[in-house]
């Protein structure tokens, strides 16, 4: 083979890309050809120069770290989702339980407050009826009873017209609840005595004040053997209590609401 033909394959020879047989023949030729061996020396030097010059850039440690983080195996999305779901459920449960506890506490406080007031009012009602002179002003005329309270209590209130009703006014007296003066009126319906108490709301201590929602939601309640209704109007707190039926208690309460 002519030397020029070998030279065409010099690159492939140096890149180790010739078939094995051809490589061996080439080896033999190079050893006997000064021109080819000089050429090869030059090309080997160029290859080494490129190798040396080509390995030039190195990534920073920071970039390596960022890249590793970007391709690192991540936890299964399913696992993550289920974990998030579990966490969300736990939070909802905790919040729910706290809310329930809080509501129960509030409800408990309300109930305790209501029980306290009911027992106070019931005591006043029973104690008055048991007395030999339950009323200080004996009159069935509301126009007599109402003026009687003037100067005795620090507020005024209206008494309902009882004509065409089964209620009758027996009289009235001064009373005190939690050191607050108030009016106590006694009515009669089918031989049952019903007490109506009127107090200035701001005069009552906090423990005796009732939530406003009560006025709408529980106009009458059963407490021991008594029925009771309560509401607030114009800064006054009204209580109607007696052993009469809940219907009678409500009827009298409605009459008072209509008059005030």
């Amino acid at each position: 083979m002519a030397c020029e033909s070998w030279k065409e394959k010099l690159d492939a020879y140096l890149d180790d890309e010739l078939p094995e047989e051809e490589m061996r023949t080439f080896d033999a030729h190079v050893r006997s050809c000064p021109s080819c061996s000089t050429d090869i020396l030059a090309r080997v030097q160029m290859k080494r120069s490129i190798q040396f010059a080509g390995k030039r850039f190195f990534p920073s440690a920071d970039f390596r770290k960022r890249l590793e983080q970007s391709i690192a195996p991540k936890p299964k999305p399913g696992f993550r989702l289920s974990w998030m779901f579990a966490a969300a459920t736990a939070i909802i449960l905790i919040v729910g339980m706290l809310t329930l506890t809080y509501m129960r506490t509030l409800a408990g406080r309300d109930r305790a407050s209501r029980d306290h007031i009911f027992s106070e009012i019931a005591d006043l009602h029973v104690a008055t009826l048991a007395s030999s002179s339950p009323v200080d002003v004996v009159s069935s005329d509301r126009h007599t009873v109402k003026p009687w309270f003037q100067g005795k209590i620090p507020f005024a209130f209206n008494l309902p017209e009882l004509q065409n009703t089964e209620f009758s006014l027996l009289g009235g007296r001064m009373t005190y609840l939690d050191q607050t003066p108030g009016a106590h009126l006694i009515y009669d319906v089918r031989k049952h005595h019903i007490s109506v108490f009127v107090f200035q709301e701001r005069g009552l201590s906090l423990s005796l004040r009732l939530p406003a929602s009560w006025d709408e939601n529980s106009s009458s309640s059963k407490q021991l053997p008594f029925n009771m209704a309560t509401w607030s109007h114009g800064g006054l707190r009204y209580f109607v209590i007696g052993d009469a039926s809940a219907g009678d208690i409500d009827s009298l309460a409605r009459l008072f609401k209509a008059a005030s």
């Binding site: 020029e4 030279k7 065409e8 690159d11 492939a12 890149d15 890309e17 021109s35 050429d39 020396l41 030059a42 090309r43 030097q45 160029m46 290859k47 120069s49 490129i50 190798q51 040396f52 010059a53 080509g54 390995k55 030039r56 850039f57 190195f58 990534p59 970039f63 390596r64 960022r66 890249l67 590793e68 970007s70 391709i71 690192a72 195996p73 991540k74 936890p75 299964k76």
Partner: protein, 176 residues
């Protein structure tokens, strides 16, 4: 293969090529920030398409191919390939005989910076084939797979690339 397992085996296969890929990316883009973006994009694409990689085939050629394709579609890549000489695929020329060759001068001076500058001046098509052959020590077959060109084209580009490098070195050596 589970996704977690796939990511693990991808990491094991891909990370050993990280430094070399970065070096190659720098040579292609000639900008370190762009090279980082290119490598990041390459790894993201490779991880995403890892299921299409056939175990037992050449992973190195596969991931270099992804990097090169990402480069070709980048702004720098489009700009670089737009300036490739039209006669790029022509026949290679044999080296002229001379008493004082660039190689012999380099042998005496061991001046790496001159070669680096000459490599930088080469069209991307020559630069990449030379780097894959000399720096990455890829076989013609691997280069062919990476660049998606026939082996004959690999050989002709190598030949012309080497000549272009020698030609680029000559005036610099005269200056020096």
């Amino acid at each position: 293969m589970g996704s977690e397992l796939a990511a693990e085996s991808f990491e094991q296969l891909a990370m050993p090529h990280f430094e070399r890929l970065y070096n190659f990316a720098c040579w292609l883009t000639q900008d370190r920030q762009e090279a980082e973006d290119l490598v990041q994009e390459t790894y993201a694409k490779a991880l995403k398409g890892f299921s299409s990689f056939q175990p037992g085939t050449n992973f190195r050629a596969w991931i270099y191919k992804i990097l090169r394709n990402a480069f070709l579609t980048s702004r720098t890549g489009l700009k670089a390939t737009a300036t490739v000489p039209l006669d790029l695929e022509g026949e290679g020329e044999t080296l002229p005989a001379a008493n004082e060759t660039p190689e012999s001068i380099l042998l005496q001076r061991s001046d790496g910076q001159l070669v680096q500058r000459a490599l930088e001046q080469l069209p991307v098509a020559y630069r990449e084939v030379l780097l894959l052959c000399e720096v990455e020590e890829m076989s013609y077959q691997e280069i062919s797979a990476t660049l998606a060109i026939p082996i004959g084209t690999v050989m002709s580009r190598l030949s012309r690339g080497r000549k272009a490098l020698r030609d680029g070195l000559r005036p610099q050596l005269r200056k020096g």
